[in-house]
Symmetry: D5
Subunit: 98 residues, 10 copies
């Protein structure tokens, strides 16, 4: 089941650089693990912004919330989730069956 | 080069049904041709709305505008385009090289 | 799996009253059938507005889109869907397991 | 009488963690007490956000404001309240009689 | 129990004048009856706009929705309802007890 | 002459509690004095929010700005003012004559 | 007493040109009469838009609403009114005393 | 003197095609004349939208309004104007001297 | 040439009072000098808000930006500029010729 | 390929002035280098605001994101990117071929 997720990162200016870098490193590893297991299908950078659009493939809302809320950067992000369905014109139906 | 495109379809209520169906049929064919040639990479339905999120892979802004403005439903849609770049955490770089 | 759905009904003024009433009757039956089978868990009227907030319990995004897009009033509604997850403070976990 | 309430939690980054955890613990207990006495009928997590949608069943606006303004997290939340009425299509009328 | 209600009137240009005047006349009578019975406590014109702010004193959300949805101009209005509670600084508590 | 005034209170988290309480006490007294002299006709709490809707009856814009800008909480509030006129349906014309 | 008023004119495309021109002619005369008697102090065109910003000098909210609601173009305009007060830095206090 | 102008074209669906094409032809000629005389410095299509961003170089606000309000498509466009000044980092100061 | 300028002042709570007062004093003098030389034609207080609407009469965009960006309060203000043109109904054309 | 980019600069008040000036100096040099090599085609100041509109000419989205994200002021800016295409009325096609 697919969800489009927009994440806008807003790290406070007064967060010590070292602390911020450590969180970002954990975020990258966390993301890449989920990409490798197929749940984080796409991640694209929004040109010019510290933000990304991602597509997740999960079995339930709860699973998605768990994945998102455990993002190391979660406390420093505005996240908006849009549930996606198969489009009647799509020649390939994406996402694991619900 | 990737672009996220949101399309909200707003067909006027007084457009004759036959005319609307004919346009939708052309739209579906147009979309599927572009999906087959790889430029229309993804098309997902926004749950509950007559809208879709799509990802296009094109060589230039002009190419994208040409594709979008020639959509049969173009006169009846609100379209918003977000340019995407490769994300440093992405384990797979998507989109044909620019 | 639960979704909060807001529906704002905007029936064109020039739609013949008989036609509008017929659609509304089908909408009511459609809704009540889904309420009886448990997928449409709640439907509340927004005070002062021709709008409702509903909670759906479905197995997938696709199932929800199918239910919503087949609403007789679908062409005359602005619909917004918010996916819900279990809240850690909830003493009762609602919704069929995903 | 039912009200839909959206709560967005915005805890300042510089609030000491221990203090934040203590407030959250009181919030959870406060919520669960009200859920048990039936006034806090539903609480759902908005997927991807530190926010919830809740449904309260109270006897008056004043009672609702009292409940909400005494939430331990109240100073750190944006809250929006939407009054709900019975929907003519609802097969079950919810909420204690006004 | 008090509610602040904003009503923006948007009568379609092509509604025959006589029909519009007839509806407005019924609206005025409807409003004045409710003002006399105390449920429509205040009605003020928003300067420069075909809109009003009103304060209603009712026993429940359902009663308010019934009053508002039966306004003759209801199909031609955008209405937004804000529930009000007693303010701790108010020297006079307004509104019939809930 | 009547004005609807919405006040959203946003006291910074790091303002010492004692200082905040002292300001609030002055605010309450200031408000109640104006309520007694009839210029602050109504003050209602917006349910769920640290905000109020008030109705002022003053002789001029300048008088209203003076009253509002001297509110002890003024530096910590977002205020929006809507000028009100008599509504043709009102059975009672409120507010001192201009 | 001064008010800043923004008027956005939205004449329906299907209003016969002759009818529109007649209304505009009345609007111009109506405006110029009020400019001559000093109540309509300023009228400026918003560059690029069928809109204006005006400053009115009136004795009361009711007087302003009367003036605005009797504008021939009133049914075809979105109007927003901002009450103005004397600014402490102004070297000239404008507007007739309240 | 430079202005950034965004124009969103919204031609009503029921405007006869021949009439629309005639207006568009006049619009193109009108624009190209102004481009040749240097006042319309840039015109770019917003990708995916029936809209453009343009840069005008004119001597005054009035001149700009005259140019814009005489656009054949003016009645069918939402236009927003942003005045531009020379940027301290610009290596080339653009626009005729004011 | 005339411009309508809205200025919303947002002085940080933790700016020392003495420093704030000193800036405000310079702001007042700066404003009054420009009022005396005719470039700052009007300054009005927005009732209830720490904001003003002003009208400037300048020879160019660059001149206006220079005046505004050198306002002592500039770093603490949100400013929005609307270019104004002569209105065809205006009986007096204001502003120095462009 | 052209992109319109709006940059709103929001430097925190508590950033030491020397540090801010150093960043701004690097920003100016960075910008002017890109202007000289043709990729930063235009940069204009938005009158009255610490913001600019710029036009970039690049070969790909990724190139643009790289240029923007390496702006010294990037952490202190809100940036929005609008992809531009050639306009059919443009007498000069701008931007290097894609």
């Amino acid at each position: 089941m697919l969800f489009l997720v927009r994440m806008d990162v807003k790290i406070p200016h007064d967060l010590p650089a070292a602390q911020a870098d450590e969180i970002k490193a954990r975020e990258k590893k966390y993301s890449q693990d989920l990409q490798r297991d197929g749940r984080w299908r796409h991640i694209w950078r929004v040109v010019g912004e510290y933000a990304n659009y991602s597509v997740f493939d999960v079995q339930s809302n709860d699973e998605l919330h768990q994945l998102l809320s455990q993002l190391p950067l979660f406390p420093y992000m505005d996240i908006h989730v849009t549930p996606l369905a198969n489009h009647p014109s799509a020649i390939v139906q994406e996402g694991a069956p619900g």
